[in-house]
């Protein structure tokens, strides 16, 4: 895009600056729209599984429900509790929201269609997602209230525990793909399964960790059945209890942007990203972005499906799953995969 702006007669610096800002807007604005629609989709899927109608009043089929909610929240008064730590109380939702958007910088939407094509893309995502915990912890502490604080402690422990096994799973994928760059990882999946299937997930050695990654990404985004941070039967609304108005909306948007990001990561790391599912020439006529979005939507459907059907975990069970089951399995899998690659690829 920089070249395009340079051709309009700008110097390189200006062209680069304008192109970057344009790229950011090109990702962030559709993302916000997608988040609004995905909240609607989430509620509809939920409702369908619970044999209800779901939102159906605002706009045709209730399509504008999220915008109505947004407007309502926007017009509310921002209430800051007297005992709260003002600065941190207001910064916390901003951190959550910003961090949820930051990670999208390295997500490739098509071959070459990526804002920042850096060679440490996956590490960048890991770094950014490890920042997400601050929004939750700070909001819980700054609220100066019991339930939010409990929720913050839970969230911090939960996110750190699951990030460990997510890190190891990412190492397995990197070993197979031979690169940290997300585009390279996707390209490495071309014809990976028997020379025809474009996905790591169909590799028998990688399928188990693909499943673990899906479950761990549920825990990382604090979605049901791991939504202990906002368990309404125990903690009112968790860390968001004291929030109202736009501060609350920022948490909401950030949360769903994170869910979308995790669905995207599942699609990119294990199921071929913007590649069509089968390595067959006519399928490449369809733009890559369509395949990517189809995969993202599929994983989002899985997320809501799980949310609607699986009961909430108990906290000690959650910790047990993270540390005693996922961590050993993912560690063993690194040995397995590196051993296999030593035998087959590098001998």
């Amino acid at each position: 895009m920089t070249e395009f702006f340079q051709s309009l007669g700008m110097s390189y610096e200006w062209a680069w600056g304008v192109a970057t800002v344009a790229g950011i807007l090109l990702i962030a604005l559709p993302l916000m729209l997608a988040v609004a629609m995905i909240i609607y989709a989430d509620r509809k899927i939920w409702a369908a599984i619970a044999l209800r109608r779901g939102p159906n009043v605002v706009g045709p089929f209730g399509l504008l429900q999220s915008f109505a909610d947004g407007l309502k929240v926007f017009l509310q008064e921002t209430i800051i509790p007297t005992g709260a730590n003002r600065g941190l109380f207001l910064i916390a939702p901003i951190i959550t929201f910003t961090v949820a958007l930051m990670a999208w910088a390295v997500i490739p939407f098509n071959s070459g269609a990526v804002l920042a094509d850096i060679n440490v893309g996956l590490l960048y995502i890991l770094a950014v997602s490890s920042l997400g915990v601050y929004g939750v912890v700070l909001s819980g502490w700054a609220s100066n209230s019991k339930y939010p604080f409990f929720s913050a402690m839970r969230a911090a422990a939960q996110m750190i525990s699951y990030e460990v096994s997510i890190g190891f799973i990412l190492v397995c994928v990197v070993l197979y793909a031979d690169s940290f760059n997300l585009n390279e990882i996707i390209k490495a999946q071309q014809g990976h399964g028997l020379g025809i299937v474009n996905a790591f997930g169909f590799n028998l050695l990688l399928f188990p960790i693909a499943v673990i990654f899906l479950i761990a990404s549920l825990a990382e985004t604090a979605r049901a059945p791991f939504d202990l941070t906002e368990a309404e039967s125990e903690l009112v609304a968790g860390y968001q209890t004291e929030y109202s108005s736009m501060a609350f909306a920022l948490f909401w948007l950030g949360e769903y942007a994170n869910v979308l990001l995790m669905a995207t990561l599942n699609a990119i790391l294990f199921w071929g990203g913007w590649l069509p599912p089968i390595d067959w020439a006519p399928l490449y006529a369809v733009p890559g972005i369509v395949w990517l979005f189809a995969k993202i939507l599929f994983f989002f459907f899985v997320f809501s499906w799980v949310k609607a059907t699986v009961p909430r975990y108990r906290y000690d069970q959650l910790m047990r799953l993270g540390w005693k089951i996922f961590l050993p399995i993912s560690l063993i899998w690194i040995f397995l995969i590196s051993g296999w690659l030593m035998l087959t690829r590098y001998s």
């Binding site: 610096e13 600056g17 730590n85 440490v120 590490l123 770094a127 490890s130 920042l131 601050y134 000690d316």
Partner: protein, 203 residues
């Protein structure tokens, strides 16, 4: 131009937030300033072309170490007046540490400038056809493999040591055995009897 602006931006914020770590009245705010400092240090690493180190800095320090700091600081009920009172008492020690650190920095920079490392080697352009993860990996796993493993062993010993020191055996705790629970079938726990009238059930 952009690099220059970015460098001064990051450097200024690092120094300012490092100062704020000390001057902030609230310890939680101090930790937040520390995180900002880490972040901008990572930015400086990026400018130096060490993107791998920059990402590690964020993942390890911001993502893990600072979270633990924040945890501890939040859990402690800190009396600010008491903290202030200790200031004069610890001033000499603090000043000593600061002087030693400053002297070491000046010494290191002086030694660097004095040569010893050949200037041509220092100014030599880095190999650009390889990403610096690959370069680091090749060095760590070939030339420095034993040092690398030794570092790993030291960390392992530290971890085991921490567990041994803090672990205490608590008697009389009934631990949940999940596999036994899931193995249990209705047939093991229940029994269907058909007692005649006035006979009762043998338990």
């Amino acid at each position: 131009m952009i690099q220059l602006i970015a460098f001064y931006l990051f450097a200024t914020i690092v120094i300012a937030s490092a100062a704020m770590v000390i001057f902030a009245r609230n310890p939680v705010h101090s930790v937040m300033w520390l995180i900002l400092a880490f972040f901008n240090a990572a930015g400086l690493m990026l400018l130096a072309g060490a993107e791998f180190i920059a990402m590690l800095l964020v993942i390890v320090y911001v993502g893990a170490v600072a979270v633990l700091f924040l945890f501890v600081v939040m859990m402690l009920n800190i009396d600010f007046a008491e903290l202030r009172a200790g200031f004069v008492r610890y001033l000499p020690l603090g000043a000593l540490v600061a002087i030693i650190l400053a002297a070491e920095l000046i010494f290191a920079v002086g030694a660097w400038n004095a040569g010893g490392v050949d200037l041509a080697v220092r100014a030599a352009p880095v190999v650009t056809d390889k990403s610096n993860i690959e370069q680091l990996g090749e060095l760590l796993y070939t030339k420095y493999i034993f040092l690398f493993e030794a570092a790993g062993i030291v960390l392992l010993v530290a971890m085991i040591g921490a567990i041994v020191l803090t672990h205490r055996e608590r008697g009389g705790v009934r631990v949940q055995n999940v596999s036994a629970q899931t193995r249990r079938r209705p047939g093991d726990a229940t029994r269907l009897v058909d007692p005649g009238s006035g006979q009762g059930v043998e338990l």
